[in-house]
């Protein structure tokens, strides 16, 4: 093997696309506040998302307290119960999960993993965060507005959403619409960055098929977000006009408290189409980055290349494309033509195929792998288990006839919490435990991490698994109280108490995580540049945490795919992406 010399490297032609001119901040404000560095923006997104997520978590506790001990708390009345439901759902889906995966993980990992110095449009990227923050503040303002935030449900269905029977119809719904519109504008700005950076700013040697699956997941999710969020935008604009100008996009001819309103001829179903045209891709926008991250966590912590990389890529792309033609499976009970139901049930079952392929490939990656049960690996395993569980119940709900009795019951609530609440959150935690050393240069405390994992994982099962049975009994969702209902046995109330206790315990466990996060900043064990001995580029930066510009003087050159673990004959059980093979001897 001949020596690798600088001259040999220098003889390689330059990249076709010149390096992005890097912005250098000079003031404290432009370095830490209005910063254009994607790593700082990522942390801003993440902290804001987690902060608002904590608000949503508290709201969930309040709901659970009401369900377990109906009428015991004067703080929780029927009006604000629906406000809790709405804000909890909207915050968790959009302001936490979407923002965290795309804005948080995306901003930090994309430039590093593709070997770029920063995002393609750093100024626009910076603006996107501040627009997001403004959207969050407007959302929170709803709690302080007259009448409180909207209680229309995260689905915001008209006509109820803007009528007087729904809490927050005065100001709450307007603030919600304004917040969502701003969020979408901000996310378009961010999304453009993520997509264009992956397309244009990859370093030399980084072909698409050498991208880590994390990048594929976030990239595809961003493309979907760019195309799906306009549907929510249109719905919000139209609903705002209905509310403020009295138009009738969604409002039919309606009598309210004995008074005929001036609306006429609108269609609530039109809103449902628009909302779910966004809403279904949205759940995959949350799921795909999780899929990508889990693939990388499993590969790294099992010291094994991902099984079926090409199929994983194709599955991600396929899921992304198919997700746009399944939306009406959320509308089976809306009175649609049964043949449409048949079509959407078919496409829904088809989309299960690439998803299942991914699950098989994760399992086959683990098979005979050198599994290290580190905290990130535990969370990755938990993701697979909970996602399979939630995905299986999705098959029930995807079939029209089975869905009709289960719709609007706790079965649906259990299903979507498993697939969207529990599974992606497992990935979020796994990702944070995995990449925290890169961001801070320190390890999170292992013991606290294991306590956090086991309480969260077992607790989440304790919350949502029994909920399926409540749904099968027919216990409806979005009910403030059930009262004496003939078909609901007394044991359902006991089960509700059990679920609430589990929820409170899981909630408390998150405090352990938060403590660990901040304690380890100063007291955590120093991690070194690559504690997990991972192959991907972000672990090969000259400094940890990465400095401004990420790579020092020279950008990395990529010679291999990101999954060269346990390669037979190699000196170590991992080969970084920027390590060349034996040099050619002339």
């Amino acid at each position: 093997m001949s020596e690798v010399t600088a001259d040999t490297v220098g003889s390689i032609g330059p990249a076709e696309v010149p390096e992005v001119e890097l912005y250098h901040a000079h003031t404290w404000l432009t370095k830490y506040v209005f910063c254009q560095d994607a790593k700082v923006i990522a942390i801003q997104y993440s902290l804001t998302a987690m902060a608002i997520g904590l608000v949503a978590l508290v709201l969930s506790w309040l709901m659970r307290l009401q369900l377990a001990f109906p009428g015991e708390f004067s703080l929780i009345q029927s009006d604000n119960y629906y406000q809790f439901i709405t804000m909890h759902g909207m915050i968790m889906v959009i302001y936490l999960l979407t923002a965290l995966f795309l804005g948080g993980f995306g901003n930090y990992l994309i430039p590093l993993m593709v070997g770029a110095r920063d995002m393609a449009f750093p100024y626009v990227n910076m603006l996107s965060y501040w627009v997001y923050l403004l959207a969050v503040l407007i959302l929170v303002a709803g709690f302080f507005a007259p009448g409180g935030p909207t209680g229309a449900g995260w689905t915001l269905y008209p006509p109820q959403a803007i009528l007087s029977g729904t809490p927050g119809h005065e100001w709450g719904i307007i603030l919600m619409m304004a917040s969502l519109i701003l969020f979408i504008i901000g996310f378009t700005m961010g999304g453009l960055n993520y997509v264009v950076t992956v397309l244009q700013c990859r370093t030399r040697g980084m072909t698409l098929m050498r991208l880590p699956l994390t990048v594929w997941g976030i990239f595809t999710a961003t493309v979907m977000a760019l195309l799906a969020f306009p549907a929510l935008f249109v719905g919000c604009v139209m609903m705002t006009l209905d509310r403020m100008l009295g138009t009738s996009f969604f409002m039919p001819s309606i009598v309210e408290l004995g008074q005929q309103l001036t609306y006429s001829g609108g269609s609530p179903i039109l809103f449902q189409h628009l909302f779910w045209f966004f809403g279904h891709p949205e759940v995959y926008i949350v799921a795909l980055p999780a899929f990508g991250i889990v693939s990388d966590l499993i590969s790294t912590h099992a010291r094994k290349n991902i099984f079926g990389y090409r199929m994983m890529v194709w599955a991600i792309v396929g899921i992304g494309a198919l997700s746009f033609i399944v939306w009406a499976h959320h509308m089976y009970i809306s009175g649609m033509d049964p043949y449409f139901g048949f079509f959407f049930a078919t496409t829904t079952l088809i989309i299960a195929v690439p998803t299942a392929i991914k699950v098989y490939n994760w399992v086959l990656t683990l098979w005979r792998g050198d599994i290290h049960l580190t905290v990130p690996m535990l969370f990755a395993l938990a993701f697979i288990v909970t996602f399979v569980n939630g995905g299986l119940t999705g098959l029930f709900l995807g079939n029209v006839v089975v869905d009709v009795p289960l719709s609007a019951t706790l079965f649906v609530v259990a299903h979507f919490h498993m697939v969207m609440g529990v599974a992606p959150i497992m990935t979020v935690f796994g990702g944070i435990y995995h990449w925290y050393p890169k961001v801070t240069g320190r390890m999170l405390n292992e013991t606290l991490g294991r306590v956090h994992f086991w309480v969260t994982f077992v607790g989440a099962y304790a919350i949502f698994f029994p909920m399926h049975y409540l749904g099968l009994l027919g216990v409806p969702r979005r009910y403030y109280e059930l009262g004496d209902t003939a078909f609901i046995p007394a044991s359902a109330a006991t089960l509700n108490v059990f679920i609430t206790v589990a929820a409170l315990i899981v909630g408390a466990a998150q405090l352990v995580f938060l403590f660990n996060l901040f304690w380890s900043l100063s007291r955590g064990k120093e991690s070194g540049p690559n504690p997990w001995r991972a192959t991907t580029l972000e672990w090969q930066t000259p400094q940890t945490p990465p400095g401004h510009g990420n790579w020092g003087k020279d950008l990395p050159i990529v010679y291999r795919w990101p999954y060269d673990y346990s390669v037979p004959g190699a000196e170590q059980d991992f080969i970084p992406q920027n390590q060349p093979a034996f040099a050619k001897v002339g």
């Binding site: 072909t207 698409l208 045209f277 290349n305 050159i557 291999r560």
Partner: protein, 239 residues
């Protein structure tokens, strides 16, 4: 929702074509490079800003396709419950505004051609005329709104009115956003930035302007009833 599904199908075809060029069936684990044998970098030589604009146009196109889809669905509902969708006369000023927007596009196209030949005077005039006529367009649109409101055609009176205000309003906001970009291009011109960068900026503005003109013509055809026959045919085909 057929319109938006069709639009996304077009995007999917473009994306599929692009993906097919990316060698997604290669076996990356076999493709290990050595020093001196670096795999050909498959990045495009297209300027990053052009890629960014292309994606933004896809997003904006999605937005307008959704609005048109909603309009079609509203017509469908109207045909079953007897709501008449169009009672508003088409103000004559709307045709003048259309002409102004066409002129604006032509002005920017001239500026763009001039950047290739180094005719700075024409570039300056094209950019200024393009910006001025876009401002006139926006002012004209606001005037149309006022004329309609004065004549008693409010947004809430009729779904057709509501769609008129919504579609023209969203389009106008996009023109206003374009004016911000055009303003920055003009600023680049006066600061005498290198020709390559200026040419790129002018190209981006021109393409965006043509996109907005195309969208406007489609909106106009829908709102004035020119596209009625096409709508009838499409509905018969879909339903």
């Amino acid at each position: 929702m057929s319109i938006i599904v069709l639009f996304l199908a077009v995007i999917a075809v473009i994306a599929g074509w692009w993906l097919s060029q990316q060698q997604l069936m290669t076996k990356p684990w076999l493709n290990v490079g050595s020093v001196g044998d670096i795999q050909a970098w498959d990045g495009s030589s297209t300027p990053t800003a052009k890629v960014g604009l292309g994606i933004f146009l896809a997003v904006a196109g999605c937005l307008f396709a959704l609005l048109v889809s909603a309009y079609f669905m509203r017509i469908e509902i109207g045909s079953t419950n007897g709501t008449v969708l169009r009672t508003m006369p088409t103000p004559r000023l709307l045709w003048f505004n259309t002409g102004v927007l066409v002129f604006s596009s032509i002005a920017l196209q001239c500026a763009q051609i001039a950047t290739r030949h180094g005719h700075t005077d024409v570039v300056r005039d094209g950019l200024l005329l393009g910006a001025a006529s876009a401002l006139v367009f926006l002012a004209g649109q606001i005037l149309v709104w006022r004329q309609l409101v004065d004549a008693g055609y409010f947004a809430a009176s009729n779904p057709g009115n509501a769609f008129f205000y919504l579609l023209t309003g969203v389009h106008g906001l996009h023109v206003a956003g374009g004016l911000v970009a055009l303003g920055k291009t003009l600023s680049k011109f006066w600061r005498e930035v290198p020709t390559v960068r200026l040419r790129l900026s002018v190209w981006l503005c021109t393409v965006y302007w043509h996109f907005l003109l195309l969208v406007w013509l489609i909106i106009l055809a829908l709102l004035t009833g020119w596209a009625d026959n096409i709508i009838v045919i499409c509905r018969a085909w879909v339903v």
